[in-house]
Amino acid sequence: MAKMNITNRDGEQSQIDAEVGISVMENLRENDYEMEAICGGQCSCATCHIYIDDDWVARTGTRSDEETELLEELECMQASSRLSCQITVTDEMDGLTLVIAPDE
């Protein structure tokens, strides 16, 4: 388990015990956060967009080219943008803080 601090689309903050070994997206989905994630983690849809807290960006790995290309066409892309299905939760991510990006 790793604690994860989440700000949802309404700006409300909450914390979950995230399961290690599955993606951030799967954890958000299991906990009913509003986010589409239509392709189920195939890096095909860009509907699982989140912002990673600055302190955590380096610790959540780097984006693949594919992921970057999808993100770059989103209107709300920021430097800290990630597709949540592309980050696998590890024990080291205990305390990960993120914001769910708006639907577009």
Binding site: E30, D32, G40, Q42, C45
Partner: protein
Amino acid sequence: MDQTFVIIGAGHAGGQAAATLRTKGFEGRIVIVGDEEYLPYERPPLSKAVLSGDLEVMRTFLKRETWYDDKNVELRLQTLVTKIDTANKSLTLSDGETLAYDKLLIATGTRVRKLDLPGAELDNIFYLRAISDTLAIREQVRDGAKMVIVGGGYIGLEVAAVGAKLGCEVTVLEGLDRVMNRVVSPEVSEFYTEEHEKAGVKILTGVGVTDYEGANGKVTHVVTADGAKHEADLVVVGVGVIPNFELAEEAGIACDNGIVVDEFARTSDSDIFAAGDVTNHPNSLLDRRLRLESVQNAVDQAKTAANSMLGELKEYAEIPWFWSDQYDLKMQIVGLSEPDDDVVVRGNIADRKFSICYLRDGVFVALNAINAPKDFMVAKKLVAAKKRIDPALLADVDTPLKEM
């Protein structure tokens, strides 16, 4: 008294609708009745990562079992609804029980179209719709196994790609003159055919399958109309699906190649809603009615249906989109192309990164992005806006789509 909302079909739309009802604050009883043995799950990985062994079955579940307990959503799995009695607002289940509903959502999806050919009863002839199918196919997939795929659509080709990767000798038999005939342009068909051939897959087009031959109860050959016999240790048939609307039709609900719903997912019965592959629905962005087989449609329409069940009407109208993964090729599809559309190639096909744009009377109506996710993202917006774009501009890769 609390209301009871019943959902028929524990698939993608059914699972999504239950989740939306609860997140929207519905506190009444929710019962999902489904004939499969698994929790509601996503099907796309069944012909991709689950088949290849890269994704565990459990990770296709929309929610874990604990979610249903926590949210008080009752699951009646391995149970078929055999009758809808609209006058008494109750359902008959395969175990003989009846279940009363205040509001009902029908999300029964589709079933595979079966080929009723001589020899069809032989072992090792598979279809692919459910987890159980993927697991059964996987058991027969081994290095050197001869795999014959009947039908060169998305699912057949995805299975072919996984089969080739796992060391099978794969042959694809397609009845029409090219693979993915109904959904992509000849350029895309040709490109994918070459990619499959590079991976060692044999693709034969314009061949009709006439029968199966076997020995000791197992399939050994697939026979085609030209008399050829294709050796097979296993056969996977992917020749389309049929919507499961008979239950609704027998109950007197309006049906026409699917359950007829309006833009709010309402059927002809005011207490009954429908969502997903089974619906014939209007789309104001496309100015027509259609039936779709896609996750995007299942999810978005399920949300609309859940809202409507709660009395909140929100129109469902999205430009359809879809994806297909074969080898390292990611195809993303926006809109619905038609055979008569004008086709513009954007990029160099030989680079394995390009898009095919479809224009109808000058209007940009659809796009297939192959390893070109940027084009996919922008095309969603351009197609929705019914943009007229100069074909010469579309063909110019140095001009980003978003500037058009």
